[in-house]
Every structure is written in structure tokens, then in C-alpha cells.
């Protein structure tokens, strides 16, 4: 039951045109679980160091997230990431990455984590993603994220584990790099040939597109007048998307359900970028989320009232 996520738990240093933060709670698993925990119970699998305090675990526990599989490595340092954004918030410049306890990470899943219905393999080494995938034998929907680094350095392992999941979430550039196809539609079809039924192209400020065997769906990002820190938007999207999926996996994941899951992911991600780090999502209410999904339905709504066209010759 519930969701399991394996991925980074981190301290982030982030600078954007709107300010700077020195040591925020971050990491893919953190962002994911804060979003997904609105929908179902989440188990987090990942390593932290001695420098990771009880107050940080409490943020993760906010909505009942299970932190028992967060492995505290004695003498180790929590993964650290330092990034900067310019005025174009779509472009992030990584200034430093210190793997710390992540360097020797070997995921260990308790019986509870292993028994998840929905599994998210956040962006980590593909062979570790594969090991976790094989451990979670009862998972009914498995999604995977990755990045350019693994596409370059561990392509075969990545293609291997992509063949074992239901859904791939990558940004446009990564989809192109993985498939060698400049066209999004053909790139997505190529990924589907590797195995996954669902391909989600994350498009930053332009939103996201979902390609399934039956349809193409596109949803813009929720329009915001102020975007402060895009860090974690993709993992927050994944948390909202897979959280909604977890709540519907028993009834069956039709295209209609997956489209609504996209809307919840989009809504959650839009809150995430309004403030630094996890600040906004940590204090988010369920009413705010529903209102924003309603807002999305209005942003894309139009009816086709056909007009008679001139068709000479």
C-alpha cells in the first residue's frame, strides 16, 4: 500500500534573483514526499549524515510520511547541492555538488517500503533504481526520473531500468538526448518502445506533456506573477502526479485519471516555486490545491463552435 520513493535527501544552497538561502532542506525524495503525502502514506528511502537533525525529519513527517527507511550514516555528511538561477529561471547553474553519504548509498527497504503500490525512482544511479525496482515486486505503477549525467555515463543501465517501469518523467532536453530525436512526439514513442506506457515531458515554465499509447495531453504551468525558486519543481510535480495515481491505482489508471494526476502534479509544482525550498508546500492546505486545479481547468478551457470556412477552389 501507499507510495515509496528512493532518492536524495539534501541540504541545498540556492541563489535566485529573489534572494539566497544557505542550507535548506532539499533533495528529490524530500520534494516528492512533501507533495505525495497529501494523497497517501509515503515511505522515504535515502541516506543522511550526522548533520541531519530531528527538525528536518519532522518536516518530512508533516503529513504522516514514514521516515524509518531514512538511513543515518554515522560520521557522514548529508548530500549537498549549490545552485544559482539568473533572470531566466529555466536555466540553473550548479556551483557545487558534494555527494557525502550518497556516494556509497545502497538502498535498504523495509518490508513496508517494499510493499508499496506506487514506486518513484527519483534521479539516482540507474543500477540502484533497478535494484529497488526488483525489490518492490507488488508495485502496480512505477515511475522513473533521470538526468543528462546518467544518459551519458550509464546509458545501458538506464535503458535497462526504463524497460522495467510504467512511466518515465524527463525534461524535453533529456528526452531528446536519450532518443536522439529532436521531435517530442517521436522521442516519446521511442521511449515507449523500451517499455513504459506513459511518457511525461517536463517543460519548465511551459508545463508538461503526457504521451500514452492512446493520446497526447498537454497542460501549461499554472501562471504565476512571482516565481522565486524553481528547485524541486519536477519532483514536486512527480509527487502530486503519483500521489493522485496511488489513490486511483485500484480502480485502474485510465487516460482520464492520468490527466487529472497531471493537473495535481502541476498544481503542487506551482506552489513549490513560489518560495524558497520546501517552505510553501510544507504549509500548503488541501483547499489551496483543489482551487488551483480548478484554476487550471479554466486556463485551458475552450469549446469548439465550428465556423463555416471559405474553401475555394
Amino acid at each position: 500500500m501507499g507510495l515509496t520513493v528512493v532518492g536524495s535527501i539534501a541540504f541545498d544552497r540556492v541563489k535566485s534573483p529573489f534572494g539566497e538561502r544557505e542550507r535548506m532542506l532539499g533533495g528529490a525524495a524530500t520534494y516528492f514526499s512533501l507533495a505525495a503525502s497529501f494523497f497517501d502514506t509515503v515511505s522515504v528511502v535515502g541516506p543522511v549524515g550526522d548533520d541531519f537533525g530531528e527538525e528536518h525529519l519532522d518536516v518530512l513527517r508533516t503529513r504522516g510520511t514514514n521516515v524509518d527507511d531514512i538511513e543515518r550514516v554515522p560520521g557522514g555528511h548529508t548530500f549537498f547541492w549549490h545552485g544559482e538561477y539568473g533572470w531566466d529561471l529555466n536555466q540553473c547553474h550548479t556551483k557545487a555538488t558534494e555527494l557525502g553519504v550518497f556516494a556509497d548509498f545502497e538502498p535498504k527497504l523495509s518490508t513496508g517500503s517494499r510493499g508499496c503500490d506506487v514506486l518513484f525512482l527519483a534521479n539516482i544511479q540507474p543500477s540502484l533504481q533497478r535494484a529497488v525496482r526488483e525489490t518492490c515486486t507488488t508495485a502496480r505503477f512505477v515511475a522513473l526520473d533521470s538526468m543528462n549525467y546518467w544518459i551519458e555515463s550509464a546509458r545501458d543501465e538506464l535503458v535497462d531500468v526504463i524497460g522495467m517501469v510504467d512511466c518515465v518523467l524527463l525534461n524535453d532536453a533529456e528526452l531528446r538526448q536519450l532518443t536522439g530525436r529532436p521531435n517530442l512526439v517521436t522521442a516519446a514513442r521511442d521511449v515507449q518502445l523500451l517499455g513504459p506506457r506513459v511518457v511525461i515531458a517536463k517543460q519548465g515554465e511551459y508545463g508538461a506533456a503526457m504521451i500514452t499509447p492512446d493520446s497526447f495531453f498537454s497542460l501549461p504551468a499554472f501562471p504565476l506573477e512571482s516565481v522565486v525558486d524553481p528547485t524541486g519543481a519536477g519532483d514536486t510535480f512527480a509527487g502530486g502526479f503519483l500521489g493522485y495515481v496511488a489513490r486511483h491505482v485500484e480502480q485502474g489508471l485510465t487516460d482520464d485519471v492520468l490527466r487529472q494526476a497531471m493537473a495535481y502534479g502541476t498544481a503542487l509544482a506551482s506552489f513549490n516555486v513560489e518560495e524558497f525550498g520546501t517552505d510553501r508546500v510544507a504549509r500548503l492546505t488541501s483547499g489551496e490545491i483543489r482551487d488551483r486545479v480548478d484554476g487550471l481547468t479554466r486556463i485551458v478551457a475552450f469549446e469548439h463552435d465550428p465556423v463555416e470556412l471559405v474553401s475555394r477552389p
Copy 2:
């Protein structure tokens, strides 16, 4: 009645990864009128040289477009543009521009052209746009396109004419450059403060967004497996958009009508990029257009079936 467009009529040399064409009929006014003529009568205002043949005029005349205000300049050369696209079709590299008869262009509008309901000021020098705007006193909806060159070199004149139109169509980068605002929503609000009620942000492969005083609307590009030549997509979009507007300008341009106009613009633009130059739109049928607008409604459709969310603490 009908639409008038003032803008370039050109010969284009275009190279993309899918081929090369030496001397195609092109230009903003050409692309615009081929699309808009599906909806209403279009008058084209623009200069050509001696090298512009009757066969080229015939392409423009296809659906009844009035070419009487196309001025043939004795001894002159038609505007020539040479551009190349790489695999990223969003990026165009201009290799040459020869203004020819466009260098000394002074728009002259016949009584018919002046009496238009809907006017499109394609991308030309802002002071010429202004002169034409002032000539068309009975126009009920006026839209304007521009480019980075005018934002840099004729900013005051551009701001001036923007204050005299109902709708501005620019791409994301141009909106940012014009307003100095990296955020699309605030950039659009700034443009609205100059006068126009409707701001359309063209976003290439990601589609387009429309900001009106009452709402934000976003529509993806129609997903295509093959894009051959993006030249003219923006002007074709404008033709579909304003053509639909022209057919509804008497009943009133509600947000609902403008959203459908966006869909028609998007559909027309998607056909335009499937082949080189004007080839595809020139032989397009009204049924194909309607089908693609229907396709767009399916691509963005989702219903919000609210799920109960965990809202601790």
C-alpha cells in the same frame, strides 16, 4: 468589412534538416492572408518588384484575397530573406536579408482596404504601422506584431503604436525585451498598461498564451511527428486568429470567442510547418482545419474530479 494586412511579401530561401528551397513565396503578409482567407475577404498591402510574377499573385488570390493594393515597383526587387534551421527548429539563423522594394515602402491603402473591420499590422517599421493604423479609422479590432530589431532601434515609435491597437502578438523573448520583465504574466500586464486589451505570447513548439483583463488562456502547439519548416508559423497563427475574430467582431469579442480564435490560429500554424513555405496551407481544406481544432479540444481536455486530501497538521 473583411481584413486588411500590411506587411512583407517576400521570396524566401530556407534550409532545414529536411531540405532546402531556393526561392519560395513568403513574407508575413503572404502567410497571414493565406490563413485568414479561410474566414473572410483579405486585402494585402505591400510592395513587390518586377521579379514578382502573376503565378505568385495567383497563390495569394486562391481564396478570393484582394491583391489590388500590392504595389509593383518598377525596376525593384522583391524583399528577400535567407534563413537556416538546425535540429532545434525553434532557433532560426538569418543568413541574409535584402530589403529591395521594402526599403522605401510607404503603404498606400485603397478605400476598400481602409474600410476593413480587422487590421493586422505585420512586423514592419513602427511608424509605418502607425500611419496605417491611423488610416483605418473604422477598424474594430487591430493587432500588431513586431520584433527585437524594432524594440531596440525604434522603441518609442513602437510603444506609441502599441497604444493604438487592441492586440499585441509577440514571442516570449520579445515580450521580455519590450518590458524588461522576465515573468510572462507581469510582462503581459505591462503591455496592457500601454493600451492593448489582448496580449498573445507566441511560444513556438510550446504553443501560445493569451492574457486578457479577465483571464489567462494557454494552448499547446498541435503535436506533430514531423515539422519541416517553421517559417511563417507566427503569421499563419495570426491569420487564423484574426480570421476567426473577423467573423465574430460584430457579435462581440468575448473571451470565449478569443479562445476559439486561438485554437484556429494554432490549427492553421500547425499545418504551415508541415511542409516548406506556403505549400501545405495553399492546398488545405476547411474540413482539415475543423478536424484539427477538434483534435486540440481533446489534447487539453480534463475534468477535475476532486479527491479527498490529507491535510495534517
